[in-house]
Symmetry: C2
Subunit: 336 residues, 2 copies
């Protein structure tokens, strides 16, 4: 049977290539990893993914899971306006799963996304677990001094933008819940709308290029990634900035696959407003910088959905009438 | 019921004090933490602790566990010759444990040790788990450029030192296995030898001061912390440095409490050679720097136990006879 040392050795070989980026002076295989950052600000995030809570092995594939573990942390780094550089991965796997191809496949998914964004895996830990898979994904990013974008910088009058389209991930999760099979979501297969929605949930695309642009060019005054859902994450941003917001329901970008796969327009808007895990970026911009925001970056649009107000309320306007938008995204420990 | 946001808010308040150290510009409460390091090298380590594998809740207390989670990562940073500065903590807790004082007590243990070493908690993640506690502890340290001590710098002729005394943690674990009660290990109670051994296992003291000195003064050529046990960790160091070693069994520092609590001298030596989780530092020194190694630092001695050789073997000398010292520490996935 393969022991931990053999496994770490095999990962080390895979890692060697990705470590050639400047700044890493020591990767996997010592007590800790070493890196440096010249005169940059560093940002670090950690995301814990627990089997049965954050994912189910019968709803995803190990490769998708490896992608997802990295993607959620890349999204956090993007939401800081920083450039992701280094990753560490702690993974706990039960004996019966360890004996399968799970870990190899998991790392394939992880490394594929890491290569795409030039992120080097520099460390991590492995452990056995009694019966469930657990993953902690850690990503470090860099930003020029004082270019980091916080949640707290929005001011009344700032314009509110969101990247991409919303509601797809929640709809994909809904499909999985109604016993859709993950087999249908293989990469490179011809995708139907249902499959597109499954992928939105299983293979989130972190908005790394958008995040970096918004930070480097000091375009965004505040930013957050949409993990809990637009209504919740907008509330987080407003609370941190001590402002309110007004958004227009008619311009919320709704995932186009939702129209096909779901019954009503109302359901689709509901997914877009409250559905979690789209991993799009929500950001605010001073009005004078509005024209500096590109319409599209690498195929991903940004849509103006409203503006920051000096009230403490978050409102949504539909057919000319404003109503309060209450956060309905999930919190851990309240689910299930 | 307390939700995640309330909990994070309460942690944030506790953290505010510890964040006043220079270098942290944003702590808990955004998508990621921000820090910077001027012109230093940074080291980062992550340690995954899984209930039933790495700890048992009926053998320890939440406070001890909080201490331990940070201690094992501080030990890794010390083993790099670096100074620990920042910590992140991902913690997954089942619903039934979340309702208890567990998390508060856990953080008390964590913060007590963090304060002792001036380490600031700058981020983390929380999740629910189906039924077991899982913790990922991440610590970042700093070292002056090129002062980091790796495992790979030992050369033939270097002297081998170890801090503190060995075998106590393994003996403590042995006592727990034979149904000793953790109630007996309350802090400030008068300690017997049995209780000292339990503490060696449950409340490891990372050798932060030693590690930093050995790095800053460029005294150590290679270093590792003793987590798997002397025989295994010496083998790791020798393999990384492509050297051999010869150590003298008569000078191995054995935990004094072992004499009282265990039957035979042979058992005690066995614990010291192969028992894991002492979290002492094993390091190598050029002979000309031997006199620069203090005998004692804050009550923790360092003992010369042997020397690095140009062979590929690791030998132990007892009563004038050399025999091969085989690694007998544990590997994950081979235990239990």
């Amino acid at each position: 049977m393969r022991g931990e040392f053999d496994f770490i050795e095999s990962i080390r070989r895979q890692v060697a290539r990705s470590e050639k980026s400047k700044g890493v002076s020591l990767g996997i295989g010592d007590d800790a990893a070493v890196f440096n950052s010249k005169n940059l600000d560093l940002v670090i995030t950690t995301d814990l993914l627990v089997e049965e809570i954050d994912f189910r092995l019968d709803w995803t594939t190990p490769r998708f899971l490896g992608h997802r573990a990295l993607a959620v942390s890349l999204s956090d780094i993007a939401a800081m306006g920083a450039r992701p550089r280094y990753a560490l991965l702690s993974i706990g796997v039960p004996q019966k799963v360890w004996k399968t191809k799970f870990v190899d496949e998991f790392y394939k998914g992880f490394f594929r996304l890491a290569r795409e964004h030039h992120v080097a895996l520099i460390g991590g830990d492995t452990s056995r677990t009694p019966d469930r898979v657990v993953i902690d994904s850690i990503v470090i990013g860099e930003a020029k001094r004082k270019r980091v974008v916080r949640r707290s910088g929005a001011k009344a009058g700032d314009l509110i933008f969101v990247t991409g389209a919303l509601g797809g991930a929640a709809a994909g999760l809904g499909l999985l819940r109604s016993r859709a099979k993950t087999k249908k979501t293989k990469r490179n297969s011809r995708t139907t709308d249902r499959e597109k929605l499954l992928r939105r949930h299983l293979l989130p695309a972190p908005r790394v290029v958008w995040g970096r642009l918004l930070g480097e060019k000091t375009l965004a005054t505040a930013m957050i990634d949409l993990s809990d859902g637009l209504s919740s994450d907008l509330a987080h941003l407003c609370r941190a900035s001590r402002v309110g917001a007004r958004i227009d329901s008619s311009v919320i970008p709704i995932d186009s696959s939702l129209n096909e796969a779901r019954a009503t327009e109302l359901d689709a808007l509901d997914s877009a407003l409250h559905g979690g895990e789209d991993y799009e970026l929500l950001f605010t911009v001073r009005p004078r910088k509005r024209n500096l925001i590109p319409l599209d970056l690498g195929g991903v649009p940004a849509t103006l959905i409203g503006e920051i107000t000096s009230s403490k309320n978050i409102e949504i306007v539909s057919n000319g009438r404003a109503r309060e938008l209450k956060p309905e995204g999930f919190q851990h420990f309240r689910r299930a």
